[in-house]
């Protein structure tokens, strides 16, 4: 089912300015969408509205994807600091009902896909910020959710690792996972098949592109 926004507006308080102003668009199931724009343009707010964290002040959002099929990737890695990489990832698989063997295999796959080969038993507190962010991404992808909502997922990563992570996200998209990314990185945006650029709560442009095409 697609995600539909119909004339959505949002303000944080009764006397505060509109953050989202009359926005309407549809995100088809399994699309990889980048949200770009300057700071304060409403990108993170829009992400929270789509994810059901915030309710629109007016207008309607139709998102039938259940919350347990939606995972988040935060700008700051949010991990179980005293536990290992493997343990931080497999907690996302507890509720899937998969067998332990399937869970183990899946954890190995996502660890490899984000370039953390050999670090499964490493404590996350000893990893760099970029590595911790990749653990968070791996956890978000592990259970093969219907939707991943990511806020600046590659902000702490170098170009090579960013490319690796984007490959993993594209592979997840190819497997049927919808991905919405808030990013300032043009490279990340151009790896997506659609870029919506925001400014002052409005859609400035809505660009559909073939994945991987250059600027």
């Amino acid at each position: 089912m697609p995600i539909e926004l119909d004339n959505v507006t949002f303000r944080y308080g009764p006397q505060t300015p509109l953050v989202i102003d009359g926005m309407s668009f549809t995100v088809p199931h399994g699309q990889m969408l980048a949200l770009m724009g300057p700071s304060g343009s409403g990108k993170s707010t829009l992400l929270q509205l789509i994810g059901g964290i915030l309710r629109p002040t007016s207008g309607q959002i139709n998102n039938s994807i259940p919350s347990h099929e939606t995972t988040w990737v935060f700008q700051t890695p949010t991990l179980l600091n005293a536990q290992t990489v493997r343990h931080n990832i497999d907690i996302a698989l507890y509720a899937t009902g998969w067998s332990p063997k399937q869970q183990h295999a899946r954890v190995e796959t996502v660890i490899e896909s984000v370039g953390l080969h050999g670090l499964g038993e490493t404590g996350v507190s000893t990893l760099s910020g970029g590595q911790q962010q990749r653990v968070q991404i791996a956890r978000a992808l592990a259970a093969q959710p219907q939707l991943v909502l990511a806020d600046e997922p590659t902000g702490q990563l170098d170009h090579t690792t960013t490319a690796l992570v984007m490959d993993a996200l594209i592979a997840a998209r190819d497997a049927g996972t919808g991905i919405i990314i808030v990013t300032h990185d043009r490279y990340v945006a151009e790896r997506c098949e659609r870029i919506i650029t925001l400014e002052d709560g409005h859609i400035l442009s809505d660009e559909h592109r073939a994945e991987g095409s250059p600027t």
Binding site: F74, T78, Y94
Partner: protein, 385 residues
Amino acid sequence: MMPQWTIHTVIRQAWRSFASRIGFAAIAVCLIAMVSATCGYLEAGARQNALDEETQLTAAGQYVYRAQARDENGSGLIPAALCQKLNNVQGVKSAMGIGAYQTATVRKAPGEHITYVPVTGNPTPILDASQPLMQATTIGDSDESTNETIGDIIMDAALANRLGITDGTRLQITVGDQPQQLGEIVRVHTLDAQTRGFADSQLIWSQNAPIGMVGECVAEVTPGVDEHTARELIATGLDDGSGTIISISTLLERDPNTRSPLERFRTRNTRWLWAASGMVCWALLFIPLLFRRHEFALLRSVGAGSNPTALTFAVANMLPLLAGHIAGCGWMILVSLWIHRNPLTEPWLAAAFIGASLLTSIMLLMVGCTILARGSITRFIHNRL
């Protein structure tokens, strides 16, 4: 359908959470052991001190009352039968009537001034708190068990020792000015009459039938009976309806401004230390959890319900709680053994204290984790974006 965490998952994640912080857990175990053992020892000490003092004062006669009759002339007698009946009153442990004092001589101790006191009722538990009721034979009566015409007398052990008399010795005594032909051979029973002050002078007591009148009725009430109730019991029991005033005084002088050891025991502040210990031990583990609230939200965000999330963190912290309390109990017992050089007299009390502290901690932990696990996921995610 919303996927659920199984109990196996909860236990696995709880163990991981515990094992990933083993250093903190070890420190927590030590601190919990110290807190619980210290609180338990303070309470045991306060308890034992109060009970020891109560025992000492009871042995010294704090529950013993002396009753005398006061008629219009200022003196009077009490029917021996009424004093005897006090032994059957609920709340009265034993009662004895004291007759007229007479001089006596003991052949084995010539020149010693001995006072002969005829008593009725149950004298031995009153004279010496450690003594049971003695089935004594009155001087002049036959002893059915031995078929002898021999009476029993009661003598303070210190006096007996000074006179060279041992328990069971047979003596020849003369009561009054005239030697008695019958019953002059008596069998001595010694006891400690000094603790309660009944041996200030050289007395020997002889059991008599509750006939006639006595000058004083001494009664001991059951430990724990308050003074007002005791006085009422005795006064009611000795009331012969003649309007004679019964004057009752305590054997031990009391300071009205000082609470009795039993009252101090009942109202001691340390009786709540089990709750304080439980709360402190809980706080040692729960306060760090407050700084890990994001982990609660993280588990919720990956599909764990609020109950499995709460249970995960509660179970992970129950292990150091349990280990710490067990160590504390062992510590308490070891310290008691070391200091008192005797086996802990009431080990079950130590276990009860530790158990109460542990259960308090566990209950607070469950409540606290449940509250933390029900925090708003949306707020958590909003704050992270």
